[in-house]
């Protein structure tokens, strides 16, 4: 008879605290960077009146998108009833909340007036997608929090499916809202597309799962808990599908624009002669951030190696960051099209490609957000029972006795 899955806090001790301390240093560095930016004003960053959203937003939006994606593993178990994923659902919920907190922290610390956060909480313009997102983000944390409670409290287990379904719908709306931040921007050539919303949803699947697999492998390794091939291979196969789906959406987005003459300029900029953005697109996003991980995940040799799976996940994350960079910064680098058919010159950089160089404080703030998310996960699995004591095949894999190779 099969053993029950047991959940247990990870051990404390010097190992835990030294690792937490190391993460904490990155958090502190991020906070210091934010203070430096706010104290001096944003002129000390690479951001300007041309590139108004910079590297902090790349990290923030990436983390927020990944957050909703990280919840997918839980959704697969609760909503779609796939029992092998059930032991992972708690960690999935925790990671989702942690990534969202990290992303929001970066977003808030980059505001011109972060001291007025209370204003954002008390004054709303309900036509603003940003305002909706404030509710979607805070609501997400509450909804996932309740979902975790239903999962972790035995007496509440019967509500797991309902709360899981609610969280799943919420996360779809959330990512739609995040994508619409760009999709609803009529002013800029690179945005203004309904495709942004579904593309962000599928991006969240990919980014969130890549981070989840890495966190899961690291947590199991460091806490010396078994992680069976069956569940890991399921996850990595799924990741491959998600990465390919993102590529499909990217392709449709560009094909649509390529058909529309007025968008040829921006397409030429991203795909052909945009310098760093073109390189990021073809080399980092498409080649090493999408095609390479797909190959690594499915090739018989690398696809069965944990090292290679980890590398594939890291590459997918790198590709995701590149994609975010191209969307957010590349989209602003291309000039506004105010006078079609005209060359435009002004002292305010109209008509030209806008330059942007990420500054150190921006990057440190962004990494600080990642560190906040990791620290939250780390403390979470230390104080509460998020992580199963074992994810060995004989416990997790429903086909264990019959077909070991099932993936």
């Amino acid at each position: 008879m099969k053993q029950q899955i047991q959940f247990m806090e990870i051990d404390g001790g010097p190992r835990f605290y030294s690792l937490l301390g190391a993460i904490g240093l990155f958090v502190l560095a991020g906070l210091a960077a934010a203070f430096y930016m706010e104290h001096n004003g944003h002129y000390v960053t690479g951001m300007s009146n041309q590139i108004v959203w910079g590297t902090p937003h790349v990290f923030a939006v990436f983390l927020i998108v990944a957050a909703s994606g990280a919840l997918n593993v839980a959704s697969i178990s609760s909503v779609f009833g796939k029992t092998p994923y059930k032991p992972l659902a708690r960690l999935s919920g925790l990671l989702a909340i942690a990534l969202l907190v990290g992303g929001l922290a970066v977003l808030v610390l980059d505001l011109g007036r972060p001291d007025r956060l209370i204003v954002a909480m008390t004054k709303y313009n309900f036509k603003s997608i940003f305002a909706w997102n404030i509710f979607l983000y805070t609501g997400f944390m509450a909804v996932v929090g309740v979902y975790l409670w239903m999962m972790m409290e035995r007496r509440m287990n019967r509500f797991t499916t309902v709360s899981g379904f609610f969280a799943f719908v919420w996360r779809l709306i959330l990512t739609t809202g995040t994508g619409s931040i760009f999709g609803f921007l009529v002013a800029r050539q690179a945005y203004d597309s309904a495709l942004m919303a579904p593309m962000f949803v599928i991006m969240s699947f990919s980014f969130g799962l890549a981070i989840f697999i890495l966190v899961l492998m690291a947590a199991c390794k460091w806490s010396e808990r078994p992680l069976g091939d069956a569940i890991l291979f399921r996850l990595k196969n799924l990741l491959g599908v998600f990465i390919a789906s993102v590529l499909y959406f990217v392709m449709v987005y560009h094909l649509t624009n390529l058909y529309i003459t007025e968008n040829h300029g921006v397409e030429r900029f991203i795909l052909l002669d945009g310098g760093i953005y073109t390189q990021l697109f073809w080399i980092v996003q498409v080649l090493i951030g999408s095609l390479l991980p797909i190959i690594l995940l499915y090739l018989p040799f690398t696809g069965k190696s944990r090292g290679w799976i980890g590398i594939a996940c890291a590459l997918a994350i790198l590709g995701g960051l590149a994609q975010m960079y191209i969307i957010i910064i590349g989209g602003q680098a291309y000039p506004l099209e105010m006078f079609p058919g005209k060359e435009v010159i002004s002292s305010f950089f109209d008509g030209g490609i806008n330059s942007y160089t990420p500054s150190l404080p921006e990057v440190v703030l962004g990494i600080g957000g990642v560190a906040i998310a990791l620290a939250a996960v780390f403390v979470g699995i230390r104080v509460l029972r998020f992580l199963p004591t074992s994810l060995a095949d004989e416990l997790v894999d429903p086909h264990y006795s019959t077909d070991k190779a099932a993936a």
């Binding site: 108004v52 004054k123 330059s355």
Partner: protein
């Protein structure tokens, strides 16, 4: 010297002597007589019966002329910091060249004070708002500096204050971490005067800019708009801009 006279009135006006200011500004009688008739009592709220607008005749804009731009910088104390990428510009001079024909022209570009402003739509706190009389402003008291409005503006009309500012002018408060843009010189308009750029353009005898109430059929701007063809920049967006152009 006119310089002295001009600045002297400026000072007195700031000190609160509105009547003195009106007398001093009689230098430009045509503008004033017309405007004074429309002046609204100080305790009366703005009304949607008025829609402030501006008509710019680009045929009268000389290449290299920056009188309106300079007047704006002076009026609002927009001193640069030697960092063109982050220094604020509320109005700028833009040179255009037709890619096919080579035809060149110059025009001033500022906040277009749209009837349906995208910046107002996207602002999460409502700091970006449109006054009843059509002037689009940033309430810097509740602006959190998210810059979403700058992402949304099709005219790149807005600037973010990238550094600490000292010695602001009393009528034009500005500060680090908030977004700002052309206000149509709202503090002038509220006291029955025209924006600084329009005043300067007229004073230099270019007469390329007309400011007035687009809802009032008797106003100069309405008559001109009715008589001659004019265009909105990015008219395809159907924002019904308050700034209209002739000659583009």
């Amino acid at each position: 010297m006119t310089d002295n006279a001009h600045t002297d009135t400026t000072r007195r006006r700031f000190l609160g002597g509105a009547a003195t200011a009106v007398a001093g500004l009689a230098l430009a009688p045509g503008v004033l007589l017309h405007k004074v008739a429309q002046a609204r009592p100080a305790d009366e709220p703005v009304s949607s019966a008025v829609r402030w607008g501006m008509l710019i005749d680009t045929n009268k804009c000389a290449k290299g002329c920056s009188d309106c731009v300079n007047a704006c910088a002076k009026e609002h104390g927009l001193t640069g910091h030697g960092r063109p990428q982050t220094d604020a510009q509320w109005i700028r001079s833009v040179d255009l060249r037709d890619k096919q024909t080579g035809y060149t022209q110059t025009l001033p570009l500022l906040c277009q004070h749209c009837e349906h402003p995208p910046c107002v739509d996207v602002c999460p706190t409502g700091a970006s708002f449109k006054r009843a009389d059509g002037i689009v402003l940033v309430d810097k008291h509740i602006c959190i500096g998210c810059r979403y409005c700058m992402m949304a503006c099709p005219y790149k009309a807005r600037s973010f204050v990238h550094e600490t500012i000292d010695d602001q002018l009393p009528h034009s408060p500005r500060g680090k971490g908030t977004v700002e843009s052309c206000t149509f010189c709202v503090e002038r308009v509220d006291t029955g005067r025209t924006p600084a750029c329009v005043e300067a353009c007229k004073a230099e005898n270019h007469n390329a800019m007309i400011f007035g109430d687009m809802n009032d059929p008797a106003s100069e701007i309405s008559k001109q708009l009715k008589k001659y063809n004019s265009r909105q920049i990015r008219a395809d967006l159907e924002l019904n801009t308050g700034v209209r152009y002739r000659g583009i």
